[in-house]
């Protein structure tokens, strides 16, 4: 970016929380990063704005956000500009890593101090570890940004070594033979059309605010098996899709995120723990490491990497953490892998922008968020998508933490507008401990054909809707005035809700339901919906009859719930539709 190889510096003239201003005499580039020397430590900062200096016509004033605590900073402290934008190191070793929001590896920092002290740094990827490199091109071949020049095995994945995306058409000058190399060694030299030589290594830096391109972007078409029944039945998400997942605190966002981490079928899961509880990220990388990847049987951590910019870490790094995580996701998508990015929570990200814009003195929009927050949120979700050119995809599932649980607030509204899917968590369902608390009547999904047919899905939904209506009638006018047939329909809906939509995320069998089992359940549900069920006989009093209906359905639900947590053999599994058939045929005598 900066042609002259001269050191460019400035001096601090204003310090407030994480926002500083510095005077400079040379040149400053919008978006570049800078180091601020405070008490012998070098703190990382990013340029936000450049203004003229009212006191000095030869100078300018640059406004920066600092990613670390500024205690001890003074007027006159030196700033050195790097000429480089905020970037992420991409290469083998990303998987299984746990970083802070700026890609500092937390285990490495933990060897130095139990606390994250400002100024602490460590290389983002292990520089000593060697990788078996197999070249994929020959001297004289033509390559350009994004092309693979070889690969290394990373766990079970074939990690392609790419030409950095900022390079244009190049010719391979040298390339090493199959050998063991670390990420600091040169594996190839290429020359561009101006004959400038570039050394390529296993890893390279990529600016995080410029998306890695698609080869051939397509609409998501293949549904992800998340293992969560209410999602896979009613609100499915496709590989490359986007979902906003808002819910008041305590409605179960975290447990749902953890379920997706454990059970969603994908090559790679990236967790951006953005401004949330540290303990939850720790649970993922300490406890989940002992769990198996649902598709490979490996340790679950082998398919994961985690950015933990938790709530007590510097706010300015929250914004960076989401962009860094997105860029890592795009990088693996470009290699042809299916990646799911779980960002928890995008509201904290938006709040970081709000704090910053407040300090900068911008005119605030609704609830003091920056005016352009909807555009920023849209831009972020737009980086997800499916790529037919590479065969990869990046799915973005963002949680939203609406203030007061009110879905009308700006971030939730902007997210609904930006995403293809919407899983609204309901306080009422959470209060009743009906988990997952995704309201089966309040969601959207842009996926049409899923594990069950569109018609079946609609029938299921219709029954839930009608049952909900009858439920409201019962609460307003009482059960007495509701006809028996309606009461039976209500009980059907209750059964589907209790036995299908609700799921025990902590039960080893019930926690995850795969498509084969979903199909069996669907068969049972459709049978239950379609069959008129006769109970008792014409001599029975209305009240007596309803008691009987309730007892029979209670028994059915108990049986079905037991089935959820016990049926494993094929015989046991296929028993469900049979039991429902019996139940519908025999009514009173069922079970």
């Amino acid at each position: 970016m900066n042609e002259r190889n001269k050191k460019r510096t400035g001096t601090l003239i204003s310090i407030q929380d994480s926002l500083v201003k510095a005077r400079f005499y040379d040149d400053v580039i919008m978006g570049e990063t800078a180091g601020i020397s405070v008490d012998g430590k070098l703190l990382q900062a990013e340029v936000l704005q450049i203004d003229p200096d009212p006191k000095n016509a030869d100078a300018g004033i640059v406004e920066m956000q600092v990613f670390e605590d500024l205690t001890g900073a003074q007027i006159g402290d030196e700033v050195e500009f790097t000429g480089k934008p905020l970037s992420v190191l991409l290469g083998p070793g990303l998987l299984t890593s746990i970083w802070d929001g700026l890609q500092n590896p937390l285990y490495k920092l933990g060897e130095k101090d139990a606390y994250l002290v400002p100024g602490m740094k460590a290389p983002a990827l292990d520089e000593e570890k060697t990788w078996e490199f197999t070249p994929g091109v020959q001297v004289g071949d033509e390559v350009s940004g994004g092309d693979a020049i070889g690969s290394v095995p990373e766990g079970r994945l074939d990690h392609k070594i790419l030409v950095p995306f900022n390079l244009g058409k190049c010719k391979v000058e040298t390339i090493i033979q199959k050998s063991s190399v670390n990420i600091t060694e040169v594996v190839a030299v290429v020359s561009d059309i101006q004959n400038v030589k570039h050394e390529l290594k296993l890893a390279f830096r990529q600016a995080v605010k410029n998306p890695i391109p698609f080869k051939e972007r397509v609409i998501p078409s293949k549904t992800i098996s998340t293992g969560v029944r209410v999602i896979d039945f009613l609100a499915p998400v496709g590989y490359g899709g986007t979902v906003g997942n808002p819910g008041p605190f305590g409605a179960g966002k975290t447990v749902l995120q953890h379920s997706l981490c454990k059970y969603a079928l994908a090559d790679i899961i990236i967790m951006a723990a953005c401004g949330e509880r540290a303990g939850e990220a720790v649970e993922v990388f300490k406890d989940f490491a002992e769990l198996d990847d649902p598709s490979t049987g490996d340790s679950l951590m082998n398919r994961m990497c985690i950015f933990g910019n938790t709530s007590s870490m510097p706010v300015a790094a929250r914004e960076a953490s989401v962009f860094i995580a997105l860029t890592v996701g795009e990088y693996y998508r470009y290699q042809g892998y299916n990646v799911i990015l779980l960002a928890d929570s995008t509201s904290r990200w938006a709040q970081a922008l709000r704090e910053r814009s407040g300090r900068q003195g911008d005119i605030p929009g609704p609830e003091a968020f920056p005016m352009d927050i909807p555009d920023q949120i849209k831009g972020m979700y737009q980086r997800a998508g499916a790529d037919e050119g590479t065969g990869g995809s990046l799915t973005f599932i963002g949680t939203v933490s609406p203030a007061g649980g009110n879905f009308q607030e700006p971030v939730t509204q902007a997210t609904m507008d930006a995403t293809g899917g919407f899983w609204g968590l309901s306080q009422d369902r959470a209060d009743a401990k009906k988990y997952p608390a995704i309201d089966p009547l309040a969601y959207t999904s842009s996926v049409y054909d899923s594990f069950i047919s569109w018609t079946d899905r609609n029938k299921m939904l219709q029954t839930l809707h009608e049952a909900n209506g009858i439920d409201q009638t019962i609460s307003t006018i009482g059960l007495k005035k509701v006809p028996v047939e309606k009461y039976v329909l209500y009980q059907k809906g209750q059964t589907i809700d209790f036995c299908v939509m609700q799921q025990d995320a902590f039960h080893k069998l019930d926690a995850c339901t795969r498509p084969e089992r979903l199909k069996v359940i669907n068969e049972a549900v459709q049978k239950l919906i379609d069959s008129p069920i006769e109970f008792g006989n014409s001599e029975m009093e209305d009240e007596e009859l309803k008691e009987l209906v309730k007892t029979r359905f209670d028994e059915l639900r108990q049986w079905w719930k037991d089935w959820n947590s016990s049926a494993q053999s094929e015989e046991e599994i296929t028993d469900l539709p049979n039991k429902i058939e019996q139940f519908t045929l025999q009514g009173e005598y069922a079970l």
Partner: protein, 434 residues
């Protein structure tokens, strides 16, 4: 050492002063304010906003009596707190000065109050239950060592009584009491309770009374938590009682307003979430060291108020106190799943079953108000609801062991329902119903 002194105060506000020019002070560093003629120490102050033209300080003792002639002496260190085992059994103010009239303390060391973030990799996943003897907590929302959890309550609820009851039975080496904006009788109550339960010798009290200088209240959690952290680093299990964080947040709001910050919701600064999180996140079980558990109190008018709302997103659940009862519906311990799987086989299922029935009962209760709960099952639910409130949601009284509390749950179910109506599995019914 001779320290630099200046007297260039240009602006004296409610809790803040500004100094013209750049006196050479660093961000978050401390200065001392001295009476111009007598050099008598008036207060300490902390630099919070520095520019070429002026520097803004928060004044610990308030600004009453300060003048533009008041002298400023540089100390060139960030705010720290004194630490010593001799602090146990003693009382301090919000910046760590002795406040019980007793002798001064010779501190073993000064600890930083910056509250650096604990590296997540040295956190242990919390797995040790802390039993309270309160059925609503032990059965339904088990408390776990290193948890951070507030009591949400209206201002007139007995939340301090509950806090003190939990503290009395707490399995902790050190108790740190951090009270912000307390009324004198609340302060007195805690002191009495801690003395009576024999816990006073392992307790350090940091108190800020309503009407004391705001900045001292603002600083108090940082000072108290830094001392707590030092004990934890030395291997101790520490319980911190933070009451009332709504008072603290209101001070934060006031100071932000004095600084002309743009407010986000109800006048609170946009950083409210981050500021609360910075304090609550100190709770941790530290690998190779001790632990810090934080139980707070957050008073509220409505759950949607910014303070309880932001707190709920930060803490690992909340205990919701209403009409003197611990309400099941809005209470939550996010860490309970870590410990309630290996207690008794019926623990988790009965918790879920009773909660689900109670939710139905609440619906029936609403229906009953319009005369619509006329069927037999609704009647059952209504009787169950009453029983539940009286026998499960009551937090005060004799301590009940977990086994006895679980048995009590079965007794309640048996009093009102048929086995299949509970939604519990046949296996559990066979084992526990009779």
């Amino acid at each position: 050492m001779i320290r630099k002194e200046i007297n260039k105060i240009s602006e004296v506000g409610k809790a803040l002063i500004s100094v013209e020019g750049n006196p050479g002070v660093a961000l978050n560093h401390v200065v001392e304010l001295l009476e111009a003629n007598t050099n008598q120490s008036l207060s300490f102050a902390k630099a919070i906003n520095i520019t070429e033209g002026s520097t803004v300080f928060q004044v610990f003792n308030g600004t009453q009596g300060l003048s533009t002639k008041t002298k400023i002496r540089m100390h060139e260190v960030p705010l720290s707190a004194g630490f010593s085992y001799n602090m146990l059994g003693r009382s301090f103010n919000g910046v760590g000065d002795v406040a019980d009239g007793g002798p001064d303390i010779i501190f073993e060391k000064q600890v930083s109050t910056r509250l650096d973030t604990l590296n997540p990799t040295v956190r242990l996943v919390p797995k040790q239950p802390m039993w309270t003897g309160i059925p609503m907590i032990d059965v339904f929302n088990t408390l776990v060592k290193s948890q951070k959890i507030p009591i949400f309550a209206g201002p007139t609820e007995p939340y301090n009584r509950l806090l003190s009851q939990i503290a009395q039975g707490a399995q902790a080496d050190v108790i740190i009491f951090a009270g912000i904006g307390l009324k004198f009788d609340e302060y007195h109550y805690f002191k009495e309770q801690l003395s009576q339960s024999g816990n006073i010798d392992k307790t350090i009290m940091f108190s800020h009374l309503a009407g004391d200088s705001q900045i001292k209240g603002l600083m108090l959690p940082d000072v108290a938590l830094s001392v707590a952290r030092e004990f934890a680093d030395q291997g101790k299990d520490v319980l911190v009682l933070l009451t009332d964080m709504t008072n603290w947040s209101n001070i934060l709001r006031n100071v932000a307003n004095y600084q002309d910050q743009i407010p986000s919701l109800q006048g609170y600064p946009g950083s409210l979430y981050s500021e609360l999180a910075k304090r609550y996140e100190v709770a941790a079980d530290i690998e190779g060291a001790g632990s810090i558990t934080i139980i707070g109190a957050t008073t509220l008018e409505s759950l949607e108020d910014p303070v309880p709302d932001n707190t709920g997103y930060i803490t690992e659940g909340q205990f919701f106190l209403e009409n003197g009862k611990l309400k099941l519906a809005r209470s939550l311990s996010r860490l309970k799943q870590q410990v309630n799987g290996d207690t008794r086989s019926d623990h988790r299922p009965i918790m879920t079953a009773m909660a689900s029935l109670l939710a139905d009962a609440e619906k029936a209760y609403e229906a009953a108000e319009v005369g619509a709960a006329n069927d037999p099952f609704s009647q059952k639910l209504l009787r169950y609801r009453e029983d539940f409130i009286a026998n499960m949601e009551e937090p005060f009284g004799d301590s009940v062991g977990l086994e006895a509390a679980l048995d009590r749950c079965w007794d309640i179910l048996k009093r009102h329902f048929e086995p299949t109506e509970t939604g519990l599995s046949k296996k559990l019914i066979d084992q526990y119903w009779n």
